[in-house]
Symmetry: C2
Subunit: 404 residues, 2 copies
């Protein structure tokens, strides 16, 4: 096997780099966008289509796949690769973020970043916690049937062995931007202890499941506290993981997020691959690449597509909203010159009609375009890094418009 | 232009024939299944996909497209062909059946065929009528915004001129299996007067809309009364329509339906094309082909797909229900040897999982398979007619299994 990660070009002015991430199911050119396939399918499109669009890597979710259809069923049908029909590289998230969403995320009414203005009150709870955390693991309610389910660091590794993704992640405890320093530190320390247990479980389960070539990234926690993030990065790096993911709270603003990324990358081994969990707007990706991030997963491009938000380098803010009445008679494609199956055949007027009618075919056509946009965006970013051109939003926009 | 219809082979033992239906947007090999694209899209799939499956002809609906996005919008975006991205042959139904569904269909609680056993009570109303019929036309409530809308024979032709389908239909009044002879006769006579008005409107609107090569079929009514059906067929045939559709009530059983088809075909010019509206199970299609029907439209294959019913010649009743728990770990495709994109890549186990999760990708994969099945079914029927083989269900099943 080739080494997991090789860097083939470095930007002269920042930590951005172009690399190849080698897995048993193919190589991924980085920086890369990882399409979200929570339940072993990207929503609204099929594996063959995702492949044709040039998507390189998918990320499934251990929490969702544990509940349905269950890791044993996936293993019996060939692991994620055979089960899903996507035979390229797979990642699986550990379920740590879902445990957070059902627990502290509900109580604090937030996600990864709390976008509030200074002095503004914290958001209200969106519901009671459905999670009980202990040193042993996380007990939580199944969203499928309400039953209590228990996730331990060991069980999450066993499940991911059966799922068989190429890159897997240990169970972590995500904290919220509204957790104080003391709680964030305690949760971080527990995540570190869980990482040790995960590494042991990873060794103990060698030979289990369909993919003997799995690797496990370590997850860095520590919220938006500089000393905690730096300590977490050093601790996780010392455990010898071959790659890293940045998880948990990224603070209360985009500025906080970029600082967290900077501190973390600073402490991690420069030559190893780095994944940013759950981030994916055009601006955020560009800024994170500038700070040395190699891969990103985010549900936003596909979720936005289903809600009418279509990505285009020809629009301010990089998107248009197809539900807008001004598109009713618009004969142009979403993005002039785009080579996706949707833009090659359909007008904004037709997509507006399908969206307004709630036609199922809309969700697919919109998803195909947004995924293709992300693939083109990452290719443009890689080309800029290799050429040593500035990694600026307007430069990227010009590249995309010129190439589309 | 070639003649609208040419017969290229006849079955030695029954009125079944193989033909070519020539339109300005391509020829259709008959007998053919017409995929339902009510709102200018087949549900859950795109025009490019439908084309790749071998579907030859789509049918849109004037009622639905009139309400949204409106015929003027469709015309501005290139008519149905340009608007939808399906550049092959299009038909449009007139909206007569929708007027029925919202009116007598609701009051009588029925569709085209009332499947009740002899002596059984008639079904209950499913709601009050939303339609007011008069000699002038039909006034009804829009399902989009509740506004009153008026459809006249002239307005329906004007709308279809703007939509630009290759084959269009005049406004008709469909009766229910529970309408008595007197009402059925009065409605039929009105439909005949509307047909005369539609022909005049068709001439008066020459030059309107994107498609100068449109043809209009006549619709035969008369319920399940032999003398009325025969009289309607003769009357509509004498008006000189180049092709015919069989509409309205087809009685209270499959036997009634087949008798109605027999009487009607008997009275119509043998060399002209005949369409059966809204019928499409494997058995019904085979029986109707044996009686001389050339084209069929039916939402059942695509609707069944979305509800879990997947067509297969390898199953009793020609289908399996993917929601059944026995498919949970089934590694086989829906139909062994099927060449559709779904069967080439995905297992029943994966489709079962997608269906149980309500994943959008399920609807597309299931629809692709069922449409491909219908295309293969019609090809097998055409081959049997051309070879003079018996048009029997078990023979067709063997052809499909052998070919799949």
């Amino acid at each position: 096997m080739a080494p997991l990660f090789e860097i083939v070009a470095r930007h002269p002015d920042c930590p951005a780099r172009v690399g190849n991430l080698h897995t048993a199911h193919g190589a991924v050119k980085t920086p890369a966008f990882v399409a979200v396939a929570t339940r072993a399918t990207v929503k609204a499109v099929s594996a063959a289509e995702v492949q044709a669009l040039g998507v390189q890597l998918l990320i499934g979710n251990t929490y969702h796949l544990y509940l349905r259809p269950g890791p044993e069923v996936v293993a019996a049908l060939g692991g994620l690769h055979g089960f899903s029909g996507w035979d390229g590289p797979w990642m699986t998230d550990s379920g740590g973020f879902q445990v957070f969403s059902l627990g502290a995320g509900k109580v604090h009414g937030v996600g990864k970043i709390a976008s509030i203005f200074p002095g503004e009150a914290a958001p209200k709870p969106s519901g009671p916690s459905l999670v009980k955390l202990s040193e042993e693991g996380a007990r939580f309610r199944s969203l499928v049937d309400g039953a209590w389910v228990f996730f331990s660091p060991e069980q999450v590794i066993r499940s991911q062995r059966l799922l068989g993704a190429d890159i897997i992640l240990p169970l972590d405890e995500c904290t919220s931007p509204f957790h104080g320093r003391a709680y964030t530190e305690a949760a971080m320390d527990r995540t570190h202890r869980w990482a040790v247990r995960a590494l042991r479980a990873f060794e103990d389960t060698r030979g289990l499941g369909p993919n003997p070539h799995q690797v496990m990234y370590g997850i860095v926690q520590g919220g938006a506290y500089e000393d905690l993030r730096r300590r977490s990065a050093r601790t996780i790096a010392e455990l010898g993981f071959p790659g890293f993911a940045i998880g948990g709270s990224l603070g209360k603003s985009k500025q906080d997020m970029l600082r967290v990324i900077g501190w973390t990358v600073d402490e991690l081994p420069q030559g190893k691959p780095k994944h940013l969990l759950g981030i994916g707007t055009v601006e955020d990706i560009l800024e994170a690449v500038r700070r040395g991030i190699d891969t990103f997963d985010c549900a936003a491009p596909t979720r936005m597509a289903r809600n009418g938000g279509l990505l285009s380098a020809q629009e301010d803010g990089f998107r248009l909203n197809i539900k807008n009445a001004r598109f009713r008679r618009d004969p142009r494609p979403i993005e002039e010159g785009c080579d996706c199956p949707t833009c090659r055949r359909h007008s904004r007027g037709f997509l507006h009609h399908l969206f307004r009618c709630g036609e199922l075919s809309y969700f697919r056509l919109a998803t195909l375009h947004n995924l293709r946009f992300m693939v083109r965006l990452m290719a443009a970013i890689r080309a800029r890094i290799a050429a040593g051109k500035p990694l600026e939003l307007e430069g990227i926009r010009e590249d995309l418009v010129g190439r589309a």
